[in-house]
């Protein structure tokens, strides 16, 4: 059953990564990237590394997501004044 | 006894998560989907946390597990409010059943 769990988690990671690169709308791609980071922290939990899971959830998903969203908002406002 | 109660609570929690997913798949518009997810999933999480707290080895671990629940409820209430207000402001109209 652990194998099924790992395979399902790995498949959803790959699906999220693919959709992140392939979605036509940029804002949705950013949301999917944050979701990818949160799924990565689940994967770190499965790999028995809770410290990396914490860092990934806080820095990888939270901080990077906030930076990307901020840049997206600024660029968007500049395009349409 | 406590073992059985904990198992039953875990299964009930799984059922509520399933109900939330079915609601997400079946409901017609954003507001009702939001309602299904926020309500059913939080109840399911509460059941799962209670079930796990019953079999925790010490009272401190059980209290920590139960402390997650209000935090998650506050967080999902915040997200639901933000999404619903934003969707309303962007002009997404709520779904109504067409009358013949």
């Amino acid at each position: 059953m652990t194998l099924a769990f790992d395979l399902l988690l790995a498949l959803s990671l790959l699906w999220t990564a693919w959709r992140t690169l392939a979605t036509p709308r940029l804002d949705r791609a950013l949301v999917l990237f944050i979701v990818f980071g949160l799924l990565m922290s689940l994967a770190w939990a499965r790999l028995a590394a809770p410290d990396i899971g914490l860092a990934e959830a806080a820095i990888g998903a939270g901080l990077t997501g906030a930076l990307l969203l901020d840049a997206y908002g600024v660029l968007r406002r500049r395009v349409r004044p | 006894m406590i073992e059985w109660l904990s198992m039953a609570l875990l299964l009930v929690g799984a059922f509520f998560f399933f109900a939330g997913t079915v609601g997400l798949l079946r409901f017609p518009d954003v507001y009702s989907r939001l309602h299904a997810l926020a309500k059913a999933d939080n109840l399911g999480l509460g059941c799962v946390l209670l079930g796990l707290a019953l079999q925790a080895e010490s009272i401190a671990v059980a209290l920590k597990l139960l402390l997650i629940w209000p935090l998650v409820m506050a967080a999902s209430a915040g997200i639901s409010f933000a999404i619903a207000r934003r969707a309303d402001r962007l002009g997404i109209t709520p779904w109504r059943q067409e009358r013949p």
Binding site: F5, L42, L69 | Q55, V72, I79, R86
Partner: protein
């Protein structure tokens, strides 16, 4: 007992995957945001269930951080980036 906990965790992950696909394919931009709400609750549940299975009590702390950051990400997105010109429908 451990088998049942793991089975519930697997079931929650399957729910998360299905709902993720459904929400990411949703018709309006708000549907994309439902994913943040979803992963805040379901991901927290999965981590809490994994903690006794893997004998790692620290995973409960990861669950706390995950719940918090899903909220922060969702609200930041709704406030900051999700702007649309009037009359545009997708």
């Amino acid at each position: 007992m451990t088998t049942l906990v793991l089975a519930v965790a697997l079931f929650l992950l399957a729910n998360l995957a299905v709902a993720l696909i459904a929400a990411a394919r949703g018709p309006t931009a708000a549907d994309g945001m439902l994913v943040a709400l979803l992963i805040g609750t379901t991901g927290t549940g999965i981590l809490v269930l994994l903690a006794p299975v893997m004998h790692l009590p620290a995973l409960v702390d990861v669950a706390l951080v995950l719940a918090l950051l899903a909220a922060i990400g969702g609200i930041a997105f709704a406030k900051r980036a999700w702007q649309r010109t009037e009359g545009e429908h997708d």
